[in-house]
């Protein structure tokens, strides 16, 4: 089976992480034998809590470790750097059932990491082939699209709330992505909207109402796996996934 990559992006605070987590849960339940890689590419690092999976290390920890080994002269040649990146990458992958979790982390040190980033990108691209599905919870805004971190994906999921600003952000992302991202399909999820709100968008996947059950779930510190199957978030994510795979639009 060819790896299908879902990337979630949009304005901050619109529910990208919750939706990514819901997609991951639904994929893991629907395709029990499939291997799923969940990538937390948001420096806010929320997907870990949403899934209830705690990684021992983030990719940024690895990046720092490799940068230090270069400075100390312990590694230098391309083959050594690649081997070093592969060595540490396995420690970054936390597993739970058929889900593997990988967090990019929060870059805190100054300096140029271009060389290290290039090796890490190569390694991540290399491991993607081990999975049937890769779900990326992206950073808010267009930075990761601009920097071509999200370059080759299957589905670009634009998440917005009902605000004009949210819709403007996904409009900008869409324009930039058309130029820089190789993508099979793009779709929009409008999240956390008042009842009766029905935006007109050509590639609408789902409209999800304000979800009190999910908010309570978050307040209790419970993962997406504790969420009821009739909650608006779960139902909306399921509808969006179905529409994305079947090329239909839907309102929940």
């Amino acid at each position: 089976m060819e790896t299908k990559i879902f990337a979630f992006t949009g304005k901050g605070g619109v529910g990208k992480t919750s939706l990514s987590a819901a997609f991951i849960r639904i994929l893991s339940e629907t395709y029990e034998k499939a291997k799923i890689l969940a990538v937390d590419a948001d420096p806010a690092v929320g997907l870990s809590a949403a899934l209830g999976i705690e990684p021992k290390k983030t990719l940024d920890d690895v990046r720092l470790q490799i940068a230090e080994s270069i400075e100390k002269g312990e590694t230098g040649a391309a083959a050594e750097l690649l081997s070093e990146a592969k060595f540490h990458l396995l420690d970054c992958i936390a597993e739970r059932g058929n889900i593997s979790f990988l967090a990019i982390g929060r870059p805190e040190a100054a300096g140029c990491y271009c060389k290290v980033n290039a090796y890490l990108k190569q390694v991540i691209e290399g491991i993607s082939g081990n999975y049937d599905f890769v779900v990326i919870d992206g950073e808010a805004g267009i930075e990761q699209i601009n920097r071509r971190v999200l370059e080759h994906i299957s589905y670009l999921v634009l998440v917005t709330d009902g605000s004009k600003k949210g819709l403007q952000v996904i409009g900008t992302i869409r324009q930039v992505a058309e130029k820089l991202v190789t993508c099979e399909k793009t779709g929009v999820i409008v999240n956390r909207v008042p009842a009766g709100y029905a935006p007109e968008l050509p590639d609408l996947l789902a409209v999800i109402g304000d979800d009190d059950t999910q908010r309570r779930n978050d307040m209790r510190g419970e993962s997406v796996f504790a969420l009821s199957e009739d909650s608006p978030l779960y139902c909306g994510a399921k509808e969006a996934l179905k529409n994305l795979q079947e090329n239909k639009n839907g309102i929940v």
């Binding site: 312990e74 690649l82 070093e84 081990n130």
Partner: protein, 238 residues
């Protein structure tokens, strides 16, 4: 290469007198080849050699071997006799053709040493940290359930085969160490020293400095027998 003789002797002194298994290279008994970049997931792993915070050491030495016959040695239990994470050592000695051109020869050392990074036996997921001189291996449950199960001798044959593809390599002796009585901490220190020698050979040959008093390599030359001679031999040939 004489440079590695001292560290080679020190490593040998850490190992039991006789290996538990010793087998000449057999190209027909290699481990089945797996896919590059294939991850062995935790749920499919029986145990990890050098994993779970256990000690681990990996080194490639370029030195003379008493015979030109390549072989695999095993000190300690074999893969099918291990049931949980254990400390692990993997030391490989490579005998190379003598070269007149020291600089060219040093360049080849690194390239040939990288062979260990490009081995993908099925059900035997190797990962190497060159910075820490560590080698950890996830061993698949499925590989141990096969009849006969995957063994270190299979993996050793695969590694030797890969090394022998380099035209400058004459023979290879690869030793896997799982004996719990071995001092892995000391082995790790010696692995670091081995890497330091390989790195130093290259750095020394790239240097044009002839005054030892002001040379940045002096501490290393003082520590590694033969390094200074190698540098001046190259300068003398110019």
């Amino acid at each position: 290469m004489e440079l590695y003789n001292n560290v080679g002797r020190q490593i040998r002194a850490l190992l039991p007198y006789a290996p538990a298994k010793r087998a000449p290279y057999d190209a027909a008994a290699c481990a089945p080849e797996g896919e590059k970049d294939r991850i062995l997931f935790g749920s499919d792993t029986a145990y990890e050699l050098g994993g779970g915070g256990k000690q681990s050491a990996e080194a490639v030495l370029f030195a003379d071997l008493p015979e030109e016959q390549s072989e695999t040695l095993l000190y300690g239990p074999d893969l099918s006799e291990i049931s949980s994470d254990v400390p692990f050592g993997h030391i490989t000695v490579v005998k190379m053709k003598e070269s007149e051109d020291a600089a060219l020869s040093s360049e080849r050392l690194k390239t040939i040493g990288f062979t260990v990074f490009q081995l993908y036996p099925e059900g035997y997921h190797i990962r190497i940290s060159p910075a820490a001189c560590r080698e950890q291996v996830r061993v698949a449950k499925a590989a141990l359930q096969k009849k006969p199960p995957l063994s270190f001798l299979n993996v050793g044959n695969s590694l030797i085969k890969a090394f022998l593809r380099h035209p400058d390599v004459i023979a290879v002796q690869t030793a896997f160490i799982t004996d719990p009585a071995v001092d892995y901490k000391a082995l790790s220190v010696l692995s670091g020293k081995t890497k330091k020698i390989t790195d130093a050979v290259q750095s020394t040959l790239q240097l044009d400095e002839l005054d030892c008093a002001s040379c940045k390599m002096k501490p290393l030359c003082d520590e590694i027998d033969g390094l200074r001679e190698l540098h001046f031999r190259k300068e003398g040939k110019r």
